[in-house]
Amino acid sequence: MNTDTRDNLLQDIQEFLGDALIDLSVAYKHPLLLIQRDRLLDTCRFLKNTMHFIYLNEIIGTDRFTSEDRFEVIYHLVSLRDRQRLFLKVRVEEENPVLPTVTTIWQSANWNEREVFDMFGIRFDGHPDLRRIFLPEDFKYYPLRKEFPLLGVPGSLEMPNSTPDHD
């Protein structure tokens, strides 16, 4: 990875975002950008169309367990041309956690957003098929939230009887 390309790239992004860039760090080699939520879509479009981040690797959800801006969604982007990774973060509040979908920009966001929805309950506005991905729809909890118990909630899912004649 070339540090010059990275510096140029970060400079361009800083110029584009201006005040909307809340935090920027490059510890551990990869740039991490924290941006304002309302600038998410146009930043993503700028990164894809101008900065050549055409490959969306994954979307990471985290629960910060704070009273303000509780959830954080991290978009992991790769530029194959510049051999560069970039992590773009936005924060979502606990009440009504909604973000605009990026499936219109990167098609591969589809399942990744479904996973974040499944694990944290963050809804993505405009997603074409927002269903849970790992857990069944009948499950009413979001397991990666910090308040969800490690051993699960007894009785939260209807299970088949374990004895054969009890049906």
Partner: protein, 431 residues
Amino acid sequence: MMQPDPTIPRKKPTYFKEHQEALYKSLEDKHATVEIDQSDPLSTRMTLNMGPQHPATHGVLRVLMELDGEVITKCRLDTGYLHRGIEKMAENKTYQEFMPYTDRMDYLSPYSNNVALCLAVEKIAKIEVPDRATYIRMICCELARISSHLLWLGTMIMDAGALSFFLWTFREREKIYDIFDEVAGHRFTVSHSRIGGLNNDFTPVAEEKIRKFVREFPDELKGWHKILDRNRIFVDRNNNVGAIGHEEAIAIGLAGPSLRATGIAYDIRTFEPYMFYDQMEFMVPTRTEGDNLARYYCRMEEMAESIRIIEQCFEKMPRKGPIRTDDAKKSYPSKDEVYYSMEGLIHDFMMTDTGVCPPEGAESYNAIEAPKGELGFYIQSDGTGHPWRLKIKSPSFSNLQGLETVLDGEMVADTVVIIGGFDPVMGDSDK
């Protein structure tokens, strides 16, 4: 568009009713890509459910397809039947305690998963690993790649109709299991890596076994090339099946050999070299056709390149040296110290109880090229021995998402071959 016949009742599901309803509704909502010819009596629309218990889905993948005659007009994948919540478990375990769980993610190449976790933790906690340990890790990772590709070769060709291949590839896999048995003490779920190094060094027997395998395996590979490359049935079955272009492959986020078969040379070993891959001489095999045959060639050539890497590792590897970092605050002390000194025992206890503590607020991502593609760990630390959040980027998850698009418009008889060609592992995808 023809509607389903209302006189034929669809059986009501017994369990997970909302889930089943949502899945069928999603299939109905999906945009159809194939025109339906009403005059053709063969064009009967039907919904076919394949899996989760189906031998050709390589685990517990469920595919819901809508068929027009023999053509899949649209399909939906239902995953999660092997969801164990290992990301949640990781948040409640120390980094070292979590390692056996990574064995069970991509259970066909456990060694790569161990190394991926170790490298990610070593990066965030800034732990140096001795050279000899890194070389041993590289050798075993490449062996794991061969082992995983051998299973893919056996099952994919079995899906295409040739059963005997499964026995031949498993004979070779058995040799790799024997090697892992000798190296790590386990055949399958090895857990041989430790944070900061390895559990134990190669024994002379293990080294001899690996050298023997490296000598003999290229001949086997040559034989397989001979029987398959110009095999009429095999080529007809795979050529132009499940084809995808490079632009679409990037858009739907394919990973690993499936992506490289479309012409994108995205391999973490060269994209962002880790361990000593930057000093190795090897090729990243690519094809441009993007179909099942191209994936076959990519994986076959990767196995040959792995053998080359192992040979170079043996040349460059220091003959002697420590295999774990000699800092008891960052890695387990050796058993000699634990049994014969008080400090050793205390450090061993501390490592088991608290473990490695990366700095508070640190976040880092580290990926390796696992056999199936990019396997990465994103770790957020809160300064304790447990990760605050550990996200796994699994290659099978990305590939299965692509499969949903690739299957549209294919023949139903090719489904099993295409799934075989993508080589998903549900333990990896479902986490």
